[in-house]
Assembly symmetry: C2
Homo-oligomer: 569 residues x 2
């Protein structure tokens, strides 16, 4: 025990007490998957509930649930087919495969994750990196899709993928949800669910998984009205931020700043993003991770996802892993909606009335039907839909500058479309919303919460979870396993369950061992039924952190458990 | 509207009010997937919570969460690779694929789902069934895997599947969970999560999905102690049961019987199964589906899953679809655990102390190490593990009768193992638990709940959901969209959210339209903030089912909403 670090100790506790452990262990395990036992699942669900309260419910944002299996077309539109890939190299001797950037990082190379193929191969050659298993030479680096691929239905050409994020299920539904919400705008739409990333060689247990629980929401807003009305509530909050010095360089040292200053100094491009970053710091605080153990690290352009104009990783300090990402804050601009509009031909723009109507010169794309039909045949109706949603100003520029206009898979020229210009009274505008996205990994948070709650008291482990995260509120213990005590303990257990309290029953082993077990699971209160209980109806309640005991009448028990922590203990 | 049936009307409502709708609709849709909007997700989650309360929490059963992506080995062990398949035929002209059994059922052929390949082809030929799309001839029937297939990691031979049930995640973890629960036995272990079935041609919207939410638990017990102590609580409950007349024939008419009689008459083989069936009928009752619209239909041996010794489909009556399965109750015997013990070599037997130790003649398999090493080389340690967990009595019989002993992928003979017989004091026994499994589809239930709650009152739709299932407890409405009213309404909204009440805010449209909208979403109470509110702090509360209105002071509002339905309304 003494030689193991905190990560090992937390993982050992997680396994032994039924929080989580590697999946498929009876078959030797498969990297990148974990199973949640009763305590871990309860903890993860509490984290999800708190996220929901913190971000969605208080703002009246919507929550949805969409499938994991997604047809190829969606990820063509979203850019994932092209951009969601990892570099991989293969040992030419033993055929094992590796992430060359990870091999380089292990050797202390900086920014290996942002290198291109040539750069990676150059570094591998320069440092003579070889197969860590057999010492063989490594093949040139190629890219591999990081999504799980499958086919949908019986036809081989109907390709589907496991979603690597929950966001696309939100984007493709934006129009319907805009309707369902009666055109409320701006609006946030969130989703919690499993997501899949087919990592080449997952490491770090629950911190890098192939299947994980993602909690993310997309906040849709008008980029011409970027003010966030909630900024006054958080503007004086201090955060630690590690911004970029240039497009290729980070500052060496993080800076302490306020939300207000980070907006005014343009460290954070969007007010809404700054607001959600402030909330996220509070959120992690409520999970037991203090602000001084958190920071926001801006990603270099080469490190950012393809859809992002600015990204901050929200990092926390972990004992073994150092600064570790638990959330990403991305300014996705109008990228995703624009691409889905282009690929689907469905108008997902939002109509915004102007306060005062204005006279404007307005351009319109007028299709020349006969020549469109002649050229595009069956595709004509798709061309017409695309013309209907294309931006006339940008289209005119493209036509003038290049002589042609690209719309989805079609290329048009001036024989297919003309630009019509009129002056008219404009009562509103149609816009493609911009999006900021905070995205959390629930599994990493579950691990982090446990590491931060892990406490040693007199050589014994206590999982001092915050009250709102405990898997159980109490454990019900008959002092010894005798009929009368067991019967009464069962009666009390059942009653507490009916009162919707989260309790479990434990009759196995000495009372001391059962207390220790409860401490390790983070159960704040242990309720012991003894012979006095049979006489006067009182039970012993023992508190996790103070180990203090007192007697409570069992009629007061539900409220006593509900109200923990009490001011007086 | 008048020509559409209830299914169409419920589906239209589900889409329009944000319960659920077909996924990927902007790309023309993909069969077998649905998206849940805010109201539908809330409804589904309430159904899940009720299931959890009803089956897991009240019995102190465990809940876990395991991955969807599963390595091939697990489904080899579970028998799914071999048995989880559907018949498929292809049109030789247009190459469209079909389920021949479904084509035959559509023509009124009975029991087509239990036919083998030859029988299906005979029937197809006899009735001259042709391609429904182009009239072409159909190819001979073959079987196709009904699981989504993928690869895990970068190696093509590392095959994985999307799980078609949550059960295997429970079985492979049985040993760990038995430990975590400190060897509590008998015990139930449940899981709620997404599951995947790659249907050939999904039909019936939310009733037959490729990705769906399953709620299932496995109850592990000793087949020599099959008594269920809860039977007295349910024995007089009446159920409708449609048992088998023989191995190939069902009774034409269902019978009304009590739980007690169905156990005594051996209609239901296991008491625990009868108990869970009784609970399940109550559970659906609380979802708004009365007992007289439910029945239990026993499956023919040819229709049952490969692991089951007895299965009942729990069916409910739907307006368009007639009797429709919403749950399955399967007696899985020790099949799954036995197979995983065999394939993994890991002992997952449970030790049960005997009340009184007894003298017994005990057989033991003694490996002959030298000849095992000679024959099996690297596989020897696996052989030894398998010998350690094999049943000595059964192994001896096999050796005597066939001259060899099959263990996993190994075949042994008398040169590898001898049978050692001793008399010893036995203090307990090791057993492979038997399992009964109730398994529910949450999506079907969500649809069914809506169909049963769908009510017309004065030409308007009310979704009269039971109180415990409403997506929202109340809607907060400013009478008109004026600053002072909106401000006060927002204040009240925020306060109710802080009180953990599920409410939403709606300011769009006339008050009458907003009431109608709330009725359609099943919101029991509508809270209107008007000018009186600004004077005296009272609001108008309107009730969904009675349309009655009364004024409530806003300080009493949280409790008033919480306590609905009230005796006095």
């Amino acid at each position: 025990m003494s030689r193991s670090d905190k990560y090992d100790r937390v993982m050992e506790l997680a396994r032994r007490r039924g929080f989580f452990w590697p999946s498929y262990e009876i078959y030797g395990g498969v990297g990148g998957f974990i199973d949640y036992g009763p305590a871990g699942l309860a903890l993860k669900r509490k984290i999800e509930d708190k996220w929901r309260d913190f971000f969605l419910r208080r703002h009246g944002f919507l929550e949805i649930e969409t499938p994991i299996i997604t047809p190829q077309r969606v990820f063509e539109a979203s850019g994932h087919i092209e951009s969601f890939k990892d570099p991989v190299t293969e040992c030419i001797v033993c055929r094992r495969k590796y992430r060359p950037d990870h091999l380089l990082s292990d050797l202390g190379v900086q920014n290996a994750e942002s290198m291109g193929l040539t750069e990676l191969d150059d570094e591998v050659r320069k440092r003579d990196v070889r197969c860590p298993e057999c010492g063989g030479d490594l093949s040139p680096t190629t890219y591999t899709q990081t999504m799980f691929k499958t086919t949908i239905g019986p036809y081989a050409d109907s390709i589907g993928y496991g979603r690597p994020e929950a966001a696309q299920g939100i984007f493709v539904n934006f129009r319907r949800l805009h309707e369902v919400s009666r055109e409320r705008f701006p609006i946030g739409i969130g989703q919690i669910g499993h997501a899949l990333r087919n990592e080449i060689s997952p490491r770090q247990g629950p911190l890098r998984l192939r299947e994980f629980t993602i909690m993310e929401f997309e906040f849709f807003f008008d980029p011409e009205e970027p003010k966030c009305p909630y900024i006054p509530e958080v503007e004086s909050m201090e955060i630690t931020i590690l911004p970029l010095r240039s497009d290729t360089e980070r500052y060496a040292e993080p800076a302490r700043t306020t939300i207000r200053a980070s907006i005014e100094g343009r460290l954070i491009l969007m007010e809404w993003m700054a607001y959600f970053m402030a909330l996220s710091q509070q959120f992690l605080g409520e999970l037991g991770i203090p602000p001084e153990k958190q920071r926001f690290s801006e990603k270099l352009p080469a490190e950012r996802a393809h859809y992002s104009a600015q990204t901050f990783d929200q990092e926390i300090l972990l004992d073994r892993w150092g600064w570790t990402e638990v959330a990403g804050h991305a300014y996705r601009t109008s990228y995703d909606l624009s691409r889905h509009i282009e690929y689907s031909g469905v108008d997902m723009r939002v109509f915004r009335p102007l306060e005062k109507p204005v006279e404007v010169e307005e351009k319109r794309l007028v299709p020349i039907l006969s020549s469109i039909r002649r050229e595009f045949g069956e595709g004509s109706s798709k061309v017409l839909e695309l013309l209907n949603v294309a931006d006339p100003e940008a289209s005119e520029r493209q036509l003038l500058e290049t002589g042609s206009l690209r719309l989805g898979e079609f290329t048009l020229n001036q024989s297919h479309v003309r630009i019509h210009s009129t002056r008219r009274r404009k009562t509103g505008k149609r816009l493609i919303p911009h999006v900021v996205e905070p995205s959390f990994g629930a599994d990493r948070l579950a691990y982090a919460v446990m590491e931060y709650a892990y406490t040693i008291k007199k050589d014994r482990v206590i999982l001092s979870l915050p009250a709102s995260l405990t898997p159980y509120r109490a454990v019900i213990l008959p002092l010894v396993e005798r009929d009368t005590l067991v019967e009464e303990a069962n009666r009390i257990f059942r009653h507490l369950v009916e009162c919707k309290l989260e309790v479990y029953y434990d009759a196995a082993g000495s009372i001391g061992r059962r207390y220790a077990r409860a401490d390790e699971i983070g159960v704040p209160l242990a309720v012991t039924i003894d012979y006095e209980t049979l006489n006067d109806g009182t039970v012993t309640v023992r508190e996790r952190d103070s180990w203090k005991q007192l007697r409570v009448h069992n009629s007061r028990l539900p409220k006593y458990l509900q109200d923990w922590p009490h001011g007086d203990t």
